[in-house]
Subunit: 380 residues, 2 copies
């Protein structure tokens, strides 16, 4: 059958093997490698849809678990779907709720039929299953849906991970069965297996046999060292189809976006840029800074001299510092805008470097300027 979501390959970087492409969806297309801003509760925190478009966001992510609990997938279905509800007409990807069940909920009980757990807000008993996750996402009407999987913690034993991967494969089949609108919404499978090469291969082969329109790599960026993540990508991607999009879930630090792209990843998402922005931490072309620091009180330069975003074009570090210190909402609007723009612009630079077959050189230049090459450089 023809999938609702397809991948068009443009070229491969001769220096690194990174892929330049376009993902086509029912709500339009976006270039890859792409970073997806996260709009957990049907809004990318502090931002308007127009602002996201002005910074060239091609696709955003929203969270099934949160929307299921509030306002309820029935409300969003009645509104005409998530796009209409939140006034966003470009592509939307929704996760399956699985990750939140494992990271936010309490007293979870994993059975073959699904997961019993308690609502993290009010303690109510809840049940999420492959069928339920599909029904919610069908109601939301996202362009890209994610299969319901188990996300084991890191580290997990090989024995536990093997049984988990096998259950995730069985759940993936049930997701495909339950998916009511395959002509309107593309469903991606999620490859699990932790840091175990044989289990990543097993998971990938199981899922590829089911012919999803795209594949994600889950269970990374959960606390493992960066080289463990990079190695996992290297031994997993060879088992992923070349002609379908590859999505590395939950990754959004600048270094990992570049290193993931180099390893053939097309899509990324992370709350990092907006979360750290609300705490005053900004990503710049020369590394990160915390604008709440007293030294910025009289700094009348932009956050980043090289940045062309709304914040850097119109405001000084001193003004944003003042707004953050005064707990003014406009402060976190300005910092969120800047950080999202920074990562979206970084991905545009990555795509340009692929076009020019110099992503390896770009990586060296960026890492040097940002400070990732310093001893004790922190990861984000």
């Amino acid at each position: 059958m023809t999938h609702a979501v397809t991948y068009e390959h443009i070229k491969t970087c001769k220096q690194t093997g990174a892929r330049l492409g376009i993902v086509h969806t029912p709500h339009g297309s976006f270039e890859t490698p792409a970073f997806m801003p996260v709009g957990t509760q049907a809004t990318v925190k502090t931002m308007s849809p127009e602002e996201l478009k002005a910074m060239n966001a091609g696709i955003i992510l929203s969270n099934t678990y949160h929307l299921w609990l509030r306002p309820g997938n029935d409300v969003i279905r009645e509104a005409g779907g998530l796009h209409k509800f939140m006034n966003w007409d470009r592509p939307i990807l929704t996760d399956s709720g699985g990750f939140q069940v494992f990271s936010l909920s309490e007293f979870r009980n994993i059975k073959e039929e699904g997961v019993h757990f308690r609502n993290h807000m009010n303690g109510d008993k809840l049940f999420l299953s492959p069928e339920k996750a599909m029904q919610i996402q069908n109601d939301l009407g996202s362009d890209i849906m994610m299969a319901f999987d188990e996300c084991p913690p890191y580290p997990a034993t090989h024995e536990y991970m093997k049984s988990s991967v096998e259950r995730t494969s069985r759940w993936a089949e049930r997701c495909l069965e339950a998916h009511a609108r395959p002509q309107d919404q593309g469903l991606f499978g999620i490859i699990q297996g932790g840091e175990y090469e044989d289990l990543r291969r097993q998971s990938a082969e199981d899922l590829v046999a089911l012919d999803f329109p795209g594949y994600a790599i889950g269970g990374l960026s959960v606390g493992e060292p960066k080289d463990v993540m990079n190695r996992a990508l290297e031994f997993t991607t060879p088992f992923m189809p070349f002609d379908k999009p590859r999505y590395l879930m939950g990754v959004g630090s600048p270094d990992s976006l570049i290193d993931g792209s180099i390893r053939g990843i097309d899509m990324f998402d992370c709350v990092l840029p907006t979360r750290i922005a609300r705490n005053g931490t900004l990503m710049t072309s020369t590394g990160r800074l915390n604008l709440k620091n007293a030294k910025f009180k009289r700094d009348f330069t932009p956050i980043d001299e090289k940045c062309t975003c709304y914040t850097c074009t119109n405001y000084t570090r001193a003004y944003v510092h003042h707004l953050l210190r005064a707990d003014e909402t406009f402060g976190i609007r300005l910092t969120s805008y800047h950080n999202l723009h920074f990562l979206l612009n970084l991905m545009e630079q990555v795509r340009q470097a692929i076009r020019e077959d110099r992503l390896g050189d770009f990586r060296e230049e960026f890492f040097e300027a940002y400070g990732f090459n310093k001893p004790n450089a922190k990861n984000f």
Copy 2:
């Protein structure tokens, strides 16, 4: 001398006596009667300057007391003034800090030289005087500065009020003396006197003799009944010059904006629209509503069917209800935008009604639709 701020009278409403005019300032002109959104800490809460322009805000107000304490008037002077600091190139009015000293601070000690008090944030000892209030506002570079006055609480005895009014007149003279940039910034005098007709007259005559470019009426909207306020306006405005702007401080409920305009007031300010917006309360053409109420969960209509603002054009009550319930910043952006637009649009309707000599009719229509004519109607 030629004042930095002047009033151009366009016409008087034949039905009510309300004034249509234009106030000219160093940063441009605005039509009156005008409502001024309040940007206490160099930002109108949750809004961008571009959004304020899109809703036709002609002038905003900012608070001397807050900016003096944070980030400090020296920082704003070094930034090139408040307009540049906050990226707002239209007129700005700053108050004198007097009202906040009396409403926010503790342990205040009023002497002839000024007021000793403690910082409401950290308890530090502070001193504000006519000279200090002028110096701060000269540093801020506002188009309209306010004289430093005493704001007695309501009710106050005639005896206390009389001595207070006399001190305010002496302080007003010192303000004029201390004002360092009269060619760049217009200084308004503030008429006090509470509900006492003789004292309002005395205060007005004292200040008018000093030839300020504009006059405010202070000490109203501080808890007195609405008819007390209206009466005070009626017996005060006859002593105010016809050819200078008249500003009623701290007033922003829709009924008071209309009733003040009818009594010859040109300028108003209030935190009401943004403050209630953050609590989910919206002003609409058919009265107010609280969007947090459960009944709006599945209401897929705009906040106000008759409204043309960004919020009402693009979003439903159900969506904004969801954002407010979920504590999402975008929710208070949307409600703040709507309420500010509502009052700015109301003032445009008031000006149009003056042009057409039918502000009395407009008042009746508006009050009826909004519900002010109902028994037990609440104020705003």
